[in-house]
């Protein structure tokens, strides 16, 4: 069974304290990995797509990386506005659009 596990479930950081969120997956065949940000009361907002091991993508204070078994979302010098739930999802079948989501990491940045 295809599974996506995110850790930790929740993370509290001080403003400026860098850290990483983990997304590990056991799937039959990875066809793409997606990171989303979700604010309370809102739908997920797309951040990145990663296709193959070794790939990296950056956006402001966020950097996503991918290996054969996991992805990391690195947050450098975070600010309070980076507080949100971060979701990871994988596409497992070529041509199909179905995504398997992890349960998310709830990130809180204290000023």
């Amino acid at each position: 069974e295809d599974q996506v596990t995110q850790s930790p479930e929740a993370l509290r950081l001080q403003e400026g304290e860098s850290s990483s969120l983990n997304c590990s997956y056991t799937v039959s065949g990875l066809r793409g990995l997606f990171w989303y940000r979700q604010d309370p009361g809102k739908g997920p907002e797309f951040l990145f797509t990663l296709y193959s091991a070794g790939e990296e993508k950056e956006k402001e204070r966020l950097k996503a990386t991918l290996t054969k078994k996991e992805s990391f979302l690195h947050i450098t010098a975070p600010k309070p506005e980076d507080s949100a739930t971060y979701l990871c999802a994988v596409k497992v079948h070529q041509g199909a659009q179905k995504l398997v989501f992890g349960q998310g990491t709830r990130l809180t940045i204290n000023p």
Binding site: G41, K42, G43, P44, T49, L87, Q97, F101, Q103
Partner: protein, 116 residues
């Protein structure tokens, strides 16, 4: 920017009622999706559609049906609402793209549905 609009942010219905949730996207996307999101369970796919009048079951289709009569609109129907269908419902859309491309799904802001 892609805009996915869900007709209601909050909805309260009674057990046994037939409930309609509406979703409209403005980017001419071929693919549309309905998810529910519950604490501890994450996002789970209910139904999706590749094209007008096309539909495919997701992981948890029981108790739901869908309708896609126009490309921009995808409706989720709870045939006879039950309390275990109280949840946040999220609609998403994506462009079909090339067979080997990975187009992201874009989400609406959700409908929080309570069944009493």
């Amino acid at each position: 920017d892609v805009k996915v609009t869900q007709s209601s942010r909050y909805l309260v219905k009674r057990t046994g009622e037939k409930v309609f949730l509406e979703c409209v996207q403005d980017m001419d996307h071929e693919n549309m999706f309905w998810y529910r999101q519950d604490p501890g369970l994450g996002l789970r796919l209910i139904y999706f559609s590749y094209d007008v009048k096309m539909k495919e079951k997701g992981d948890i289709p029981e108790g739901y049906s869908v309708s896609r009569e126009k490309k921009e609109r995808f409706s989720l129907i709870l045939e006879s609402a039950s309390t275990n269908q109280t949840s946040m419902y999220l609609c998403a859309s994506s462009i079909r793209g090339l067979r080997y491309s990975n187009q992201p799904q874009h989400f609406g802001d959700g409908t929080r549905l309570s069944i009493l």
